[in-house]
Amino acid sequence: MRDIASRLLAFVQDDVCNGSVELAPHTDLLLTGAVDSLGVIRITQWLEDETGIMVDPGDVTLENFQTIERMLTYVGKQQAEQGLAAE
């Protein structure tokens, strides 16, 4: 999980936000305006590609995507539910 955590942080910070912000796992990505709607779509795709989970559109919500920590919690839950081994 640690690997995913650091790679997700790097992806969001460097790719989605173009290096314009310094992020921590608990940074509110939405209130800071750091991530826009296109960014959310890219993050969703990244999570599917890199963790193997299927993200149900109904799960793409504020609650699950507010911070990097929330995303990781969601990924962990999905990996367990979808019978995937956590990295």
């Binding site: 314009s20 890219r42 109904g58 919500t61």
Partner: protein, 534 residues
């Protein structure tokens, strides 16, 4: 019922009619009209304390919130002129807006603390006082009037003001790269209220979505119309707009009855909003505008919400609203959805764009294209301190009436309904925002190391339009880094006009006169450019 002569009277009158009725819904809380009146009165006292006088410009630097609603009203209640600022824009860009409009005072809240203070920093800041922030070590050289201090003030009553005086300024991009300030008066805004009430049967008990950014003119429906009608304003915070499933949940929970947004958000709702799991039967009007709605997407949405009526709204921010088209049924085929016809006292004329006779000229025959001119009470007073732009975009007819030249092209269907077809210039719409490609190019060409720049709109595979820029570096210079270009663009352009990707270019085609053939390059760029898909 709308007997107000100035915007400042709207909330006090709503409070007199129905003190306890809901004014603003936000995050599960309700602000009543009496509560809104008291808060606007106290903030008004705070503005007095900050030295605001009638006619002064006041920046409103707030996220979508009850505070933003109250602040806009509080400013106009003092006879001052509200300048809504985009809290996501770069401070340098906003400092430019504040400077050009002369905002010495800005109303903000803690969520925008850093950018509000950045606005008041710098060598010669225009902004001297910030209302809504507590003082702190990070706030040097700027006076802060904190929220608790405002809370303890006695509410003040609105000051009388001539309805012909300016009330608010909407900033939009200009083709040279310098934004222009569309200045509306109390009278033009109240005429817009009349227009909306004539077009839609809005009533107390309606719950109207407040979803567009405060600096975007679509937001004025919720802002000015709700108190006039006595309807409730349902705040949709910015983060919800990124999550269609959360957005549809909010619309269902709040039982929104009137929706107004750009088509992009409705498309997102249809694609990812889990609409089959949401009860949105309270919706009775779905208004959309700002850009063209793909007919087949609209048809699918109408099938999803059979109980709602759909209406296409057309009108540049300069005239607030211009025409509407209520759909009788789902659009068939690919023909663009008409923008319809004028409402209330608004008049629209099509004029041959090459003819020099302005609004007095003859209309082209049905089906033939022309430029859209508008004569309306909803029209702006003018561009803020830009008489040159006023002269270029307005004309007076033989009867002495002012007409606004939209720069939009259209034709009339045999029944007289107007259909929008495009622009006379290079202005484009991205998610409803007006963007002048020349402005982006002019700004980028001022960046260090850039010789030429060309901007274009690209539609991504997910259906979203983004702006990309091709850049030719100066002969001697290192090619500028994308992040440096992005920073430069953000400092000078509204956030929605900052390109998402930059592509180095060489060897650009030129026209016969040796100028860059921008039209050709834009087309090539759009075709060639594949935005990053990871």
């Amino acid at each position: 019922m709308n007997d107000a002569r100035t915007l400042g009277e709207l909330i006090p009158r709503a409070a007199e009619r129905a003190a306890d009725a809901p004014a603003v819904r936000h995050d599960g809380t309700t602000l009543s009209w009496a509560g809104a009146a008291a808060r606007a009165g106290r903030l008004g006292a705070g503005l007095d304390l900050a030295g605001v006088r009638p006619g002064d410009r006041v920046g409103v630097h707030l996220r979508k919130s009850p505070e933003a609603f109250v602040a806009m009203h509080a400013v106009v209640q003092r006879g001052a002129i509200a300048v809504p600022l985009d809290p996501t824009a770069a401070p340098a860009y906003l400092a430019g807006v504040a400077e050009r409009t002369g905002c010495a005072v800005v109303v903000t809240h803690d969520a925008c603390r850093r950018s509000a203070l950045a606005l008041a920093a710098g060598d010669h800041p225009t902004v001297r006082t910030v209302v809504g922030l507590d003082p702190g070590d990070d706030a040097t050289g700027v006076r802060c009037i904190g929220p608790d201090e405002v809370e303890e003030l006695n509410p003040v009553a609105p000051v009388p003001v001539d309805p012909g005086r300016p009330a608010y300024i909407i900033t939009t991009s200009g083709s040279t790269g310098v934004p222009k300030g569309i200045t509306h008066t109390h009278a033009s805004a109240l005429a817009y209220v009349d227009f909306k009430r004539a077009a839609y049967d809005l009533e107390p008990g309606d719950r109207i979505s407040d979803i567009a950014p405060n600096h975007f003119d679509i937001s004025t429906l919720a802002l000015w119309v709700t108190p006039a009608v006595g309807a409730a304003n349902v705040v949709v915070p910015e983060p919800h707009q990124m999550f269609p499933a959360s957005l549809s949940q909010l619309a269902a929970d709040e039982r929104i009855t009137v929706w107004y947004s750009v088509p992009y958000l409705l498309t997102q709702l249809l694609d990812r909003g889990q609409l089959d799991q949401r009860d949105l039967t309270a919706l009775r009007w779905v208004l959309f505008g700002g850009e063209m709605f793909p007919p087949q997407v609209l048809a699918a949405l109408m099938a999803r919400w059979p109980g709602a009526r759909f209406s296409n709204v057309y009108g540049p921010a300069e005239v607030n609203a211009c025409t509407v088209h209520h759909l009788d049924g789902p659009p068939r085929g690919e023909e663009p959805i008409p923008v319809g016809g004028p409402v209330d006292t608004t008049e629209v004329r099509l004029v041959d764009p090459d003819a020099a006779d302005g609004p007095g000229g003859a209309e082209p025959a049905a089906g033939r294209p022309g430029e859209i001119w508008v004569c309306a009470r909803t029209m702006m007073a003018g561009y803020w301190e830009r008489p040159d732009l006023d002269a270029a975009s307005t004309a007076t007819d033989g009867a002495g009436r002012r007409w606004y030249r939209t720069g939009d092209l259209g034709y009339r269907r045999p029944g007289g309904e107007l259909v929008f077809t495009g622009r006379v210039d290079h202005q484009v719409k991205v998610r409803g925002h007006r963007i002048e490609l020349e402005a982006i190019e002019a700004v980028l060409e001022d960046a260090p190391g850039v010789a030429n720049a060309v901007a274009a709109v690209v539609r991504r595979s997910d259906g979203a339009d983004v702006i990309v820029a091709g850049v030719v570096s100066s002969a001697q210079a290192e090619p500028p880094a994308p992040h440096a270009l992005r920073r430069h663009a953000a400092d000078h352009l509204p956030a929605y006009a900052v390109p998402t990707d930059f592509l180095p270019l060489t060897a650009l085609p030129t026209t016969g006169s040796g100028k860059l053939d921008r039209r050709t390059i834009r087309a090539e760029l759009a075709a060639r450019f594949q935005p990053e898909e990871k």
